[in-house]
């Protein structure tokens, strides 16, 4: 069985990457291949990485407050590239509860706010992949 490939991305001007790194290490320890893009990625760079790396999951970490713009923008670019249907798109970081339903409507499958355990996140991924691992 092949490993799950996850893109952990930090878009925009947000410089806080500790959470993303903790998550990346947890995913690695759970047997996943993690492509970590580093900071200050544009939605275009994130999408190109998702396409080239043929990832199963795009996990976007935002603590800067720009989530209502950046997350849907990544979703629409993934749709343009024709990969959205097979990609699990997740958001995490400082995202207010009231924004979550709107983000789900825009195509982000789930939002993980601070306090979510890495175990929960990993279980969610394993149970919600859009592609077979065979």
């Amino acid at each position: 069985m092949r490993p799950i490939r996850v893109l952990v991305a930090k878009p925009g001007l947000d410089g806080h990457d500790r959470g993303a790194k903790v998550l990346a290490r947890a995913f690695r320890d759970a047997g996943m291949e993690v492509i970590y893009t580093g900071l200050r990625q544009t939605p275009e760079q994130i999408t190109q990485a998702a396409v080239q790396e043929d990832v199963d999951v795009v996990a976007i970490s935002i603590l800067s407050g720009a989530h209502m713009h950046l997350l849907p923008r990544v979703v629409s670019l993934l749709k343009e590239e024709g990969v959205y249907d097979e990609t699990l798109v997740l958001g995490g970081g400082v995202i207010p509860q009231e924004d979550i339903p709107l983000l789900r409507e825009q195509g982000i499958q789930e939002i993980f706010t601070p306090g979510t355990t890495t175990t929960e996140t990993i279980e969610f991924i394993r149970n919600n992949l859009k592609r077979e691992l065979a």
């Binding site: 690695r28 047997g31 492509i35 970590y36 580093g38 544009t42 396409v51 080239q52 043929d54 990969v83």
Partner: protein, 309 residues
């Protein structure tokens, strides 16, 4: 759908390229047929292996080199290999971080691969990914890996030109680096050349190269500061010099033949290995068996069914 993917690959479709790399890396059903279909369309990519100790700046340098070549109109592929944990089977593939310069350049395709416990099979997985990238239309492909083990030396066999990236102050003397890698390098870059100790590293490398005087192409040693791009143009000149040497001397044809032979060997070894593994998992040794290991091995080998290889 299958033939659709290979057709799209040959037409330069980026998504088809990504999906096919996954198919051949995972050895999904039908992967061999797909490789057979696209193989005749390979051969136009000059492959540059980039190796060296961790922290020497390989990714940053590859980013700069790829950017310059892409600006010149070339189509670039980059395969960045990082270690997979033997315990968890997971990996952090972080080389893209240092390649932000080219990460959304439409003429550059970057793919990160884990070693996945392949051991010898890693060179086969890499060689297969290179077939896809070459058929996709790349004119230059960089294969980047940390050069500290035998399997990393094996990967460099897939390269036409091997670039060894060194840096001062990494705690390694030249002598400590595996002799095998030093011998296969065609071009050297002493990166982070603005740091203390760069002159010493440069001199030690030059001295080591002076031990031989029968070079048909003596490896140039370039000083670079990848972060700023300093020295990258001269490094490119050296890489082009080696490329031109290979074509004009006929060595390229010789190298490609050796590469193909190595690829064939890797495929055969891998397939035989898989068959033998299957036989061995059903073999249960009994301590009180009268036979010696040699007789026992003989009887198992005689059970290999070649129709199942």
């Amino acid at each position: 759908m299958g033939s659709d993917l290979t057709e799209r690959l040959l037409a330069g479709d980026k998504l088809a390229c990504a999906r096919l790399i996954s198919i051949v890396e995972n050895e999904s059903p039908g992967y061999q047929e797909k490789l057979e279909i696209v193989y005749p369309h390979t051969g136009n990519a000059h492959t540059i292996g980039v190796t060296g100790p961790p922290g020497s700046g390989k990714s940053t340098l590859t980013d700069k080199l790829a950017g310059r070549l892409a600006d010149m109109g070339e189509k670039i592929g980059i395969v960045a290999i990082d270690p997979t944990s033997p315990f968890t089977r997971g990996a952090i593939l972080g080389d893209r971080i240092r390649m932000a310069g080219v990460s959304d350049n439409k003429n550059v395709f970057i793919r990160s691969m884990g070693t996945r416990g392949h051991l010898g099979g890693l060179s086969k997985a890499t060689a297969n990914a290179l077939v896809i990238l070459s058929a996709y239309g790349c004119t230059y492909i960089f294969v980047e890996t940390v050069g500290v083990g035998q399997s990393e030396i094996d990967i460099m066999r897939c390269a036409d030109t091997t670039l060894m990236v060194l840096a001062p102050g990494l705690g390694d003397d030249i002598q400590a680096i595996k002799a095998g890698i030093m011998e296969i390098a065609d071009v050297f870059a002493v990166n982070k050349a603005d740091r203390e100790g760069a002159e010493k590293t440069y001199r030690e490398t030059m001295a080591m190269l002076d031990f031989r005087n029968d070079w048909d192409f003596k490896p140039p040693v370039c000083l670079t500061v990848a972060e700023t791009g300093e020295g990258v143009d001269l490094l490119m000149d050296s890489l082009f010099a080696h490329k031109n040497f290979l074509s004009s001397s006929g060595k390229l044809i010789e190298k490609r033949a050796k590469k193909k032979a190595a690829h064939v060997r890797d495929i055969i070894r891998d397939r035989l290995d898989a068959r033998v593994e299957e036989l061995l998992t059903s073999y249960v040794p009994i301590n009180n068996e009268g036979s010696d290991p040699y007789t026992l091995s003989e009887s198992i080998i005689n059970q290999i069914d070649y129709s199942k290889v």
